[in-house]
Symmetry: C2
Subunit: 304 residues, 2 copies
């Protein structure tokens, strides 16, 4: 049976400029992308904070994807806003403006009925808040956790403390090297595993992901796409798809993890094909499974 996933993170309005277009105030945020992505596989419970500019149009997206919003807190003020720009290589966003707004006072309280969630994804928020979420959860089966350079620079000890309490760390390549203070990625990954997590998933943008667990490494490419419009939310779509597939599978072993990595990569590849949530919200499960099998054709060399 498919387990429920608790997702904690930011809900935001993003203004995004890429070489292919520009859109203002589009519905986004870590928790939004990961929830919508995970919802194709398993029931999702959301913990996040929004302001009074968050309306029915946005709620409808969560409703459509059956995301449980019992844990969505509404506070007076504006929702978190981020403005960024991508160059032609689309690999890294340049942040033009960040307005934390209500997100600044985010202190996640996990509703009673969420506390027995078996699968937990801690989106990129203050590592101390991530730890406080964990302290409210009963006996999760799998906890995955994201972070970012801002916290790794500003609160490295808190990041390490939180990582020591989770099963899976999901960060990008530069963050892996920064946290480990080591330029070789394999050595850096081993240093992070030594901090406590059993698994490290390193996101490498258009180059895919590497998963390290101390005894084996799994490499998945990104899906080669002719049209990449907006990379915003790719990492969170990946994490949502990964956790969703894992929760749906219900078993925790190397095969389930690898299939989860591929489902995550499938969701990330769809996400970047259009601005914001447009592509994800229009998907069917058969679109997803069809691209999953395309990944096999893309990577396998012994059984074609």
């Amino acid at each position: 049976m498919s387990g429920s996933i608790l997702i904690v993170g930011s809900v935001a309005f993003d203004s995004v400029k890429t070489p292919f277009g520009e859109e203002d105030d589009i519905f986004g945020g870590t928790a939004t992308y990961s929830s919508v992505s995970a919802s194709f596989f398993s029931p999702v419970r959301l913990v996040a904070v929004v302001g009074d500019d968050f309306g029915e149009k946005e709620m409808d997206v969560f409703r459509k994807h059956k995301v449980d919003t019992e844990g969505l807190t509404r506070m007076p003020g504006k929702t978190f806003r981020w403005k960024g720009e991508y160059g032609y290589d689309l690999n890294e966003a340049r942040t033009l403006d960040t307005q934390l707004n209500v997100f600044e006072k985010f202190d996640p309280v996990i509703p009673e009925q969420y506390r027995s969630s078996e699968y937990v994804f801690l989106g990129n928020i203050d590592p101390d808040l991530q730890l406080s979420v964990l302290q409210q959860i009963k006996r999760p089966r799998i906890v995955a956790c994201d972070s970012m350079n801002y916290w790794i620079k500003g609160k490295p000890e808190a990041v390490k403390r939180t990582f020591s309490h989770v099963d899976i760390v999901v960060i990008n390549e530069a963050e892996t090297r920064m946290l480990a203070n080591e330029s070789n990625l394999v050595r850096a990954a081993n240093k992070i595993l030594a901090m406590g997590p059993k698994t490290l998933i390193v996101k490498r943008g258009e180059y895919g992901v590497l998963m390290f667990n101390g005894t084996s490494v799994f490499a998945a490419p990104a899906f080669p796409l002719e049209d990449v419009f907006d990379p915003t939310g790719a990492g969170d779509s990946f994490a949502g798809g990964f956790m969703g597939a894992l929760a749906q599978e219900g078993t925790v072993n190397e095969r389930a993890f690898r299939r989860g990595i591929i489902y995550g990569s499938v969701m990330a590849s769809f996400n970047v094909e259009q601005f914001g949530l447009k592509r994800l919200t229009g998907l069917t499960r058969s679109d997803i499974d069809s691209r999953f099998y395309q990944f096999k054709a893309l990577t396998h060399f012994e059984e074609l």
Copy 2:
């Protein structure tokens, strides 16, 4: 039965500095790395030019690997010399000095007994010379061709002309984008396939390779290594292993190409573990096959 491979390119003495050490005047060059690498799979015939500083020590390397040096011309003067430096990311060499020496007058003449070679690898030399080699060959089964930014900038039309006469183009990611004048890699690849070659192999350094043939894409990661000492020759070790495995296989189909890509990646991964040719020349076929199967464990997710 295993077909012979004709390899045309440079033989050089390299001075290389990496964060892990420095060595001067080490035996290298495009044709050297690709010949030694290919020799583990199939007989190799070498066409290159050297100066009078090229001695028995270097000839012994070719002898050990049964490389046919009938096509190795000795000219008065010095052998091609290159000096370069790598930073911590090891992705791109900074050229400090290039002395073409006898290589400047290289005009490859293919010995009569080489002209029926079934497999041909045209290493990175002047595209007009690559074409002149092709005009001397009878009916090759597979011709693969490398190039570089220097020729793509300086002689784009000659590069395109040569590419229109080969089966497989093997270039790096930046060169693919530059030649196609297109930032999206999939579109760039399709533009290069439209120039004539049936297959394009895009080398992406520590991110592995992508193979495009117009109907499918194959992605292979680089082997994750804790110790990368010297990336010099990785691309040529890749090409040599790829062509060698293809010639040994003897069949020309998608499966043979994919296995060739993996064998090429295996050889590149060994090559970077030590300075110069040290690692390659010490390998056994069983080292190679063992890493080939590690690649399967690294990439497959359906059959573990």
